[in-house]
Every structure is written in C-alpha cells, then in structure tokens.
Amino acid sequence: MIEVKNLHKSFGEAHILKGISSTFEKGKVNMIIGQSGSGKTVFLKCLLGLHTPEEGEISFDGRVYSKLDIDEKRLLRTEIGMLFQGGALFDSLTVEENIMFPLKMFANQSKKEMLERVNFVLDRVNLPDSNLKFPAELSGGMQKRVAIARAIVMNPKYLFCDEPNSGLDPQTATVIDNLIQEITDEYQMITVVNSHDMNSVMEIGEKIIFLKDGKKAWEGTNKEIFVTDNQAIVNFVYSSNLFKKVRESYLKESK
C-alpha cells in the first residue's frame, strides 16, 4: 500500500498541492483526475521523489520515503515503473536498448537473459518485431507500448502513469488503458494513473481522486462518480455532454 499524508508542494509563491492525503492499494488502478494544471503531474512527481514536498509523508509498504537513505531510495526506485506523458523514450537508443536499459544498469543478467526478458515484455504489450526500430520511427500508440514495456521490465511493485492516453486516438487510448489495467491485475502492482480523460476514468478507474485548487475535492469509485452530489466533480464530468447524458440515464435506471 502507498500511503500519502498531508502532502504540500509549492514552487516559489505558487502553492500547488495543499495537503493531499490518500491510500493506494495493490492490484488496483488508482486514478488522479482534474483539469489541466491542477497539479496531477506535480503530485505524481512527488510520489516518485522527483519533487521534494515541503510537508507531508509518503510511505511505500511501510517505508517512509523521506526517511530512507540514498541506497534505500535507489532500491525503492528500482521497484517503481513510470510511464511518462510523452513516453520519455531515449531517442538515441533502439526499442530493444530502451527496454534493456534498466536491466543493464541494475540487473546482473547475461545478454541472453536480458534479451529474453525484453522480448517477453514486448510480447506482453503486443509489440513484437520492433526491437531494432528507433522511437522516432514508431507511432504514438506504439511509443506508449514501448514505454509501458520499459516501465514493467524490472517487474515493478509500483506503476505510475502520467496521462497514458494523451495524444492518442480514442481506440488506441482504450487499448492502452486496458493494457494498464490487465498488467496491474496480472502482476498485482499498485498503479497510479493521472488522467483528465473521463473515458478512461470510467473504463479503468477503480479508485478515483479528484484534484481541484490543490486539494482533494472528491474520492470514490467509478460507480460512485455517477451518483455523487459533489458539485465540483459533477461540474468536471458535466463539461462533456455525452457524460451528462450517460449520468442522467444511469441515475434514472438506478431509481
């Protein structure tokens, strides 16, 4: 379980996160939703240790991040897989080298073992036969798959995804969402996904945290999101006419 307690983060004068608390459980896709600029990425980067919060505590299965020494932090990071918004693939390396990179740095395996593992994860994300291509030669959806493959190659306990389907067409977006959910379930990872896409929230959000003005404005499941009266989240969902209709019919049915 990842436990976040009273997280505060500012950049100079701008107070971005104003006391966020929550817990994220194993085998579940947890979602952070909110408008662009609401602090989702900042929140995720605090979890990753890329930003240091001024206040608050983050613990990974009982290990409080701020109390770990450098070696323990490094060990923890090898247990984390991260899918960045743009993929963040190393563009000077091939697909195979990209995915093999964490193994080369941290696993003491032979070239053959590493290659087997690379092919295994590439297969898992449905991207065989792309080993020797460079990221620039791949479509957006394929790049995301490679990034997922790289994120899970070390068998992480924790998987973080920043807007995994931004910039993808709806069909590919759904495929990527489902892939994230499948591997979360399969490897019983703790997965935290940032999104502002209501479609993926409904599809895979087993636990949802809604950020607004630096605070947690709502928390619940994707079922509860339809029936809640919380004005902030209703406004967020209602910004799409489609979901407005879906919600209305859902409410009607459940009466």
Binding site: L75, F84, G86, F90, F106
Partner: protein, 246 residues
C-alpha cells in the same frame, strides 16, 4: 538568476558529474559513443578549416614581408608559430564550442523537456554523471589529438599555398618550419586545449540540463551555451597565455 548564482549552480552540477559511474560497462559504451559524436564527427570540419587557415596565414605573411631585408624562411616560421600557439588550440576550440556546444546543449535540453532526464532519475540513475561524465572524458582525450591534427594541417596548408601561388619557395618554408622548434609551445597548446575541452563539454551541458519549458527554450539554451562557452574560452585563453608564457 544572477551570474554568481549560475556559477554556483554550475559548480554544484560538476560535483554530481564526477560521481563514480554506476555501471562501468554502460559507461564504456556511452564513452565510445561520445568519442564518435563529439570527436570523430568534427574531424572533417576541423581538418578543412585548419588547412585553409594555414594557407591564408602563409599568404598574408608572405605579402607583408615583401622586403629584401627580411629572410624568406620567416613565412614558414610565422605560420608554424601561429598555428601551434593560437590557431591550433584556440581557433579549433571556438569552432568546437559552436558545433559541439550547440549539439550538447540541444540534445540534453531535449532530453530535459521530453522528460528523458526524469526517466533516468526515476530509474535510480544519477543523470548528470551518466550523461555528462562520458562527454567530459571524451573531449579531454580526443580534443588534444584533434588540435595536433589541426596544427599539422595548418602548417601543411601554408606550404601548399606557397606552391600554388609561387609567393615563396618550398625550401624556405620548410627551413622556417624547422627553425627554433620549441616543444614547450606544443605543451602549452595542449594544456590550453585540455582546459578548453573541459569548458566545451560542461558549459553547454549546464545550459541543456537545466532547461525549463519547451523546444523554444531548448533553442535559446543552445545559443546561450555557444555564446558563454566562447566567451569563457576567450577569457581563459588570455589568462592561460599570461600564466604559461608571460
């Protein structure tokens, strides 16, 4: 940020850069890639420029010493001196500051804005050491070699110009080149080059690594990197010359 803060941050960066590589095998691979990217790929332009600069220096000297009282071997002598003392180390370094400096700043800046540097950090990798140390080492080892080649080609270019223009005789030129050979001057040039190599690898890395924003800022950082690298080289050139030859 003011200049003092930038200088402070630059030295803080260097402390991270000179950490032990986490995996020697990976370090070796990146080192050889940097030798290619920062060194071998600049070989052609450096050879081309130094050959012609040598030619021009020889022609200009020949035209300026058109007096019967000045011996003809002076042309070869002057060309050799200026190639070894200035054109070899400083001119080459300024060219590299432009070519390699913009490459380092823009490639690292792109890695920053596309979150590739974050990706390294998340994996538990010291991104500064991983990215910059191989560059520094490649430059320190390869650039002195490049400068020696530039000196040689410059002197050769001077000779070729004489042959082509009939402004002076081959024997006179060669006499001049062989006259009063001082190995300390080569040492002086190599010391300067090593200092410049360090500057060429690290100042653009600083500008690229700390980029904030998008591709526009990457472009700006790249320009800034070239300007500052050149300025620092020129200033250091002055002080080193005073220290080593003064």
């Amino acid at each position: 940020m003011n200049y003092i803060e930038h200088i402070g941050k630059y030295f803080m960066m260097l402390r991270q850069v000179f950490k032990r590589p986490q995996k020697w095998k990976v370090f070796r691979e990146t080192f050889f890639r940097e030798v290619e990217d920062l060194g071998l790929k600049s070989l052609g332009i450096i050879m081309f420029i130094s050959f012609f600069i040598g030619g021009v220096v020889a022609i200009q000297t020949a035209l300026n010493v058109d007096s019967p009282f000045i011996p003809k071997y002076l042309i070869g002598f002057a060309t050799k001196r200026s190639m070894i003392l200035e054109f070899g180390p400083t001119f080459t370094s300024i060219i590299l500051a432009g070519k390699v400096g913009s490459y380092i700043a823009s490639s690292m800046g792109t890695m920053r804005v596309t979150e590739q540097i974050d990706a390294l950090e998340v994996m538990g990798i010291n991104s500064l050491s991983y990215l910059v140390l191989p560059k520094v080492l490649a430059a320190l080892i390869f650039y002195p070699l490049l400068v020696l080649i530039a000196m040689f080609l410059g002197i050769y270019g001077g000779w070729a110009a004489g042959i082509l223009t009939d402004l002076f005789y081959s024997v006179d030129y060669i006499d001049g080149v062989q006259l009063d050979f001082n190995p300390y001057f080569i040492k002086y040039a190599i010391i300067k080059t090593i200092v410049f190599a360090f500057v060429i690898a690290t100042i653009p890395a600083y500008h690229g690594y700390y980029v904030k924003g998008g591709s526009l800022e990457v472009g700006r950082a790249s320009t800034q990197a070239v300007v500052w690298t050149s300025v620092v080289i020129i200033l250091l050139n002055y002080f080193l010359t005073q220290m080593l030859l003064g």
